[in-house]
């Protein structure tokens, strides 16, 4: 499985990417595989406040529903409207077209609390045991 090194990862399987003054959020390849075919995403509203590690939206497959936890605190600036029509993007391109939303962080240093790709892979191999 692919975990790009330029991203930061949360223990709850979200990724975060700094893009100028905002942070883009999605779920990892591992998470999309666990979910199987995504059928629906309940996206956050624009301007909704986020808090690090607090549930912010929900992603559903046919047989499961998972909360998505905000990797950083801040304010939602944009969400991926394409997911409404084509939630399968999350399965096909989790780090690209399948992004969830972007946030203006209230404290960029929160990113340091997240995991690197190596640390995240380690976490996954521990969970598998």
């Amino acid at each position: 499985m692919n975990f790009p090194s330029e991203l930061k990862y949360s223990k709850s399987h979200e990724w975060a990417k700094q893009d100028g003054d905002k942070i883009v959020v999605g779920i990892t390849e591992y998470a999309q595989k666990e979910l199987s075919d995504v059928v629906y995403v309940e996206l956050p509203a624009e301007e909704q406040e986020t808090q690090q590690s607090k549930a912010i939206c929900i992603v559903e497959s046919v047989k499961a529903a998972f909360d998505i936890y905000a990797p950083v605190s801040g304010t939602v600036v944009e969400f991926n409207k394409q997911l409404e029509a084509d939630p399968g993007l999350i399965n096909r391109d989790p780090y690209g077209e399948g992004w969830f939303f972007s946030v203006t962080p209230s404290n960029v240093s929160e990113l340091d609390n997240l995991l690197s790709n190596k640390e995240y892979e380690q976490l996954l191999s521990q969970e598998a045991k």
Partner: protein, 507 residues
């Protein structure tokens, strides 16, 4: 193979009708003169016009696409798919039960009130509880009622901080959902390596914030919680209550009683243990029984008897209130009454004994081929795992689907959540040994097939009206009405539904 049945809409033809109604002999002036225009409906609404013989054939044809207890072995674990006696159906349809109004004077309802009172007495005796409300319409409705009673009980004692409801990780989904719906905080208790509540973990979770523990016994794995006396002591010692999910009561009739185990509140699923039909998903009935200290909080009304005269007792000042309109799912209660009256004390006992014998017999016969995760005798149901098959690429769902080809309904699969590749099997007492032996034969055949051609099992079932439905498609672009269907055809199969228009989050 395509055995599509047209939608009733597709049978519709202008000029046909399926009704026969009386002529009105009242004021025949134009309706538009009597009803204000702003209230009046445009008479064009899309309901079908079909003749009665065509309708009968339509619905009978549809019925034949169902598996049911009347036509198939239905070992669906946790659901107690037992035979639904026919006399129950006759009784519920008696004119004096079916055609009575809840607001009739009490003296015109003495027969049904006596029946309800006597049913309550039987349920009290069977469970060892002190009083029952017959109002809840289903098990989950009973659970919600139970959560309300728990809250009222603690608050009446000025004990306001009890916010936690504990549920085992093997519990039915309704347990945590009911507790959360009523504002409780749900705390999950782990199961131990014996498939029972982990007593040490439980003890580490309970304190003066514990409102109650919800427990199914035997649990969803079909095992008796043999530490129940220690569990009840631990919960009561911290001032919490013990709630009994009666989904598995079919294992205990005449053997043991939740009331004696220390449970404070009990719900029963009359549509499981007491044979009222599942109806394709309902109606059920979920009466809730309580010990003395919780009687003051029961919903209104209860049935009261004085010198052979029955009345509704509305005077319950601390009652939690009403859970629904009127009195309960009376037609279901009538069926349960008849069931108990036919079996009597000996028969009820035999029900649970046979249910337990049947389950253990099946377990023994298949455990060589399908892994049984917990050793020892089970109660009325057991969980097997498609673990060996999983190594071959065959999953519980494939086995479930393949069973359908042999005319056997699938067991409950992937539940409880703590057991991988779970198949929960509950034969019930109303199946013969010959049926059980046939099931065993089929299961062993499928075990062989899993070795010989695992790929093929992914395609099962082969012999039914349809093959596996595309659930992803159904959930991504929901078609929930005939109108949606027509729109989707107009759009040439593209997405028919837009969820825009109203914000997903208002406010």
């Amino acid at each position: 193979m395509n055995k599509e049945t047209p939608l009733v809409y597709e049978l519709s033809q202008e000029g046909k009708k399926g009704f026969s109604l009386p002529h009105s002999h009242f004021d025949s002036s134009d309706i538009s003169k009597l009803v204000p225009e702003s209230l009046m409906r445009d008479p064009e609404m899309d309901l079908p016009s079909v003749s009665e013989p065509e309708l009968v054939r339509h619905y009978v044809n549809l019925s034949q696409k169902n598996f049911s207890v009347d036509t198939n072995f239905y070992p669906l674990g946790s659901c107690t798919m037992k035979y639904n006696p026919k006399i129950n159906e006759d009784a519920a349809r008696f004119d004096g039960f079916a055609n009575i109004h809840p607001l009739q004077p009490e003296d015109s309802l003495q027969g049904i009130m006596k029946l309800l009172f006597d049913l309550e007495s039987s349920l009290k005796e069977i469970t060892g509880m002190d009083r029952f409300t017959l109002q809840p319409a289903a098990g989950a409705h009973g659970e919600l009622c139970g959560m309300m009673l728990v809250k009222s009980y603690h608050e009446a004692r000025g004990d306001m901080k009890r916010k936690n409801v504990l549920v085992p990780d093997s519990s039915h989904g309704t347990n945590p959902a009911s507790a959360a719906l009523f504002g409780f905080n749900v705390v999950e208790v782990k199961s131990d390596e014996r498939g029972r509540v982990d007593l040490a973990h439980l003890k580490s979770l309970i304190n003066d914030e514990t409102a109650c523990l919800m427990l199914t016994n035997p649990n969803t794995i079909g095992l008796f919680e043999d530490d129940i006396q220690q569990i009840q002591k631990a919960i009561h010692d911290v001032g919490g209550l013990l709630y009994y999910d009666g989904a598995n009561m079919n294992a205990l009739l005449g053997i043991a009683r939740p009331g004696d185990m220390g449970f404070d509140i009990v719900h029963l699923n009359l549509h499981k243990t007491f044979s009222t039909p599942h109806g394709g998903g309902g109606p059920g009935a979920g009466p809730v029984g309580v010990k003395k200290h919780l009687i003051p909080y029961l919903p209104t009304p209860l049935v009261k008897e004085e010198k052979g005269v029955y009345s509704w007792d509305e005077d319950i000042p601390d009652s939690i209130g009403k859970l629904r309109a009127f009195l309960g799912n009376i037609g279901v209660l009538v069926r349960a009454y008849v069931y108990i009256a036919h079996l009597g004390r000996e028969g009820l006992k035999q029900v649970s004994q046979d249910a337990i014998i049947n389950a253990n017999y099946l377990k023994k016969k298949i455990e060589e081929h399908f892994t049984v995760p917990f050793p020892g005798f089970c109660m009325h149901e057991f969980v097997a795992q498609a673990v060996k098959q999983n190594d071959l690429g065959v999953h519980a769902t494939d086995i479930a689907k393949r069973l359908l080809d042999f005319g056997i309904h699938a067991p409950t699969i992937y539940f409880p959540l703590i057991v991988a590749e779970a198949m929960m099997i509950e034969p019930t007492e109303t199946e013969s040994k010959a049926t059980l032996d046939q099931f065993v034969k089929v299961m062993l055949t499928i075990a062989d097939e899993a070795v010989e051609f695992p790929e093929r099992l992914h395609e099962a079932p082969f012999t039914l009206a349809i093959s596996r439905p595309d659930e992803v498609k159904a959930a991504r672009n929901p078609i929930l009405t005939y109108k949606d269907y027509r729109a989707s055809k107009d759009n040439n199969g593209s997405s028919s539904i837009s969820t825009t228009g109203v914000p997903v989050h208002a406010g």
